[in-house]
Assembly symmetry: C2
Amino acid sequence: MTPLDITTDVVTLTEQLVNIESVSGNEDAIADAVESQLRALPHLEVTRFGNNVVARTDHGHAERVVVAGHLDTVPVHDNLPARRDDDNLHGLGTCDMKGGVAVALRIAATMPVTNRDLTFLFYECEEVEEERNGLKLLGESHPELLKADFAILMEPSDAVVEAGCQGTMRVDVITRGERAHSARSWRGVNAIHGAAEVLARLAAYEPRRPVIDGLEYHEGLNAVFIGGGVAGNVLPDRCTVSVNYRFAPDRSEEEALAHVREVFDGFEIEVSDSAPAAMPGLSVPAAAAFVEAVGGKANPKFGWTDVARFSALGIPAVNFGPGDPHLAHKQEELVPIEHLRRVEQQMRSWLEPAQGGARA
Amino acid sequence: MTPLDITTDVVTLTEQLVNIESVSGNEDAIADAVESQLRALPHLEVTRFGNNVVARTDHGHAERVVVAGHLDTVPVHDNLPARRDDDNLHGLGTCDMKGGVAVALRIAATMPVTNRDLTFLFYECEEVEEERNGLKLLGESHPELLKADFAILMEPSDAVVEAGCQGTMRVDVITRGERAHSARSWRGVNAIHGAAEVLARLAAYEPRRPVIDGLEYHEGLNAVFIGGGVAGNVLPDRCTVSVNYRFAPDRSEEEALAHVREVFDGFEIEVSDSAPAAMPGLSVPAAAAFVEAVGGKANPKFGWTDVARFSALGIPAVNFGPGDPHLAHKQEELVPIEHLRRVEQQMRSWLEPAQGGARA
């Protein structure tokens, strides 16, 4: 009855997952299918909260690793069901991130014994407001379930480790004026003209590119919205420039805000949104061993991802998954079949117990 | 049956006009009432087109003057019916411009003989898009009906002649960029940052104050809207600054546009709206005589009014009416009773035939 068989090959499994539509808020069916498949596996202890499914091994290893992926997708955009050609699997969620979920489920289904204890986490509502994010909610309600030495978030990363992530903060820079009829403009003060200096500072801004754990991050300070105006014949009394600051992991949210205040010194500022960066954490032994096992290469992560939530829980985390992250949220998203197979194979090699169990 | 009696005193008449609700598009009742009252007067030839009523004397004078007012108002804003106190009449349209219409109707009703021929015009839809403007439509369909040496538009002008009017032009100044994720902003071009120079030029702009026919006009170049932005994490690829240029009557629309293009040299510009200025025309004998008759004083008109439509028809025109123009379109609009009486008296004196009709 279930459309899902997690013992099948990773490409077919990705296809099955894609074909269970799971736009944020509608993860019931996919979570049910994932839960029932995992409950059939005797080496896993399965718990469910909402549409979040946690499955843990308990081999008694000293080291525990979280392998995580979200089950939801952005809205359908005429890109279902999945379509497969020789090289790629196409369709909603192939890249972000049912390919990564398929790899994790394959590991869960086919590796009853591993050289580290594993905590699989499949969660809901990553693509929407953070109040609904399954990882965030679970981290708050059941942090003990997520305890681990290291976490791998299987978000698309071109099948190369992306370490840490930059923080992101949105502030509104507001200028104020005084309304007047535009035919008698000398009686008012134009708030949009007052924003000239705000835009000048943005245009002249030189972003930092700090190197952390050997990775070069790249900050950015950008207006993402601007708005102002009352009527076609009225001097506007307010102009709002919404600015997005992407900051490297060597800055805390507080330091980031202090920097933004300094840049816009003299202007009114309202913070509308803030999320911390995550340090790459590649100096942690579990992380270093993982990078070594999957090719020895790591790139800095510029975008914000849920690795920052693990970081906030004290768990070093990296992004590692099949698919080009630039294709996420695009109608034409796809995942290369070669990525799916390679990432599964690399995870498998890293988790394979030493042969015979007794090599010196 | 009719709620209107144009032979009553000007304050009561204004009150009656105010109490016939006539928001733009709903002028049937007021136009019916005005038409039927005017048709009862043997010295007037009345024609009606839509809700526009034209009434002409034909005394055979060498000089003909249009006396005009619009019948419509902006939307009701909890400011009906009219309310009267010792000094003022309050309510929707008291100021803009049923006070002026009342004066014109009083002249029509009570001066069967005048020293100039008169064309009274009461028209619809002045407060909405110009495609519906009764004066504009009549000027196009029946220009012969409006032929005159001079026109008095009885818009509120603080009971002082306001001559000419400034032109108004709206242009969108557009900057373009290239979208990119704000976490990798170096891959895109921020169109909002590109508008820094547009705002800088606006902020530094020094408007002209040319003197024309002895009146000092005062131009203005102002951003009235600004907009740009795609999403909170995307570099915007377009920013639009809507600029309103108010230009003195010594500039044509073409010259005004050339000036705007010069100011924003190097930027993409789209004209969204344009209306010509009107020269004050105070050197025309009929206009000079009128100004002399009503107190000898004239101010420049900064805002755009329908005098520009008369001007475009080759008819010099001034604004002259009871009420403070700054109260137009405000919930608390009112007209001073003293204005109503004074403006009526001044119009009456100016139009009074010489006593005995045969003074040398």
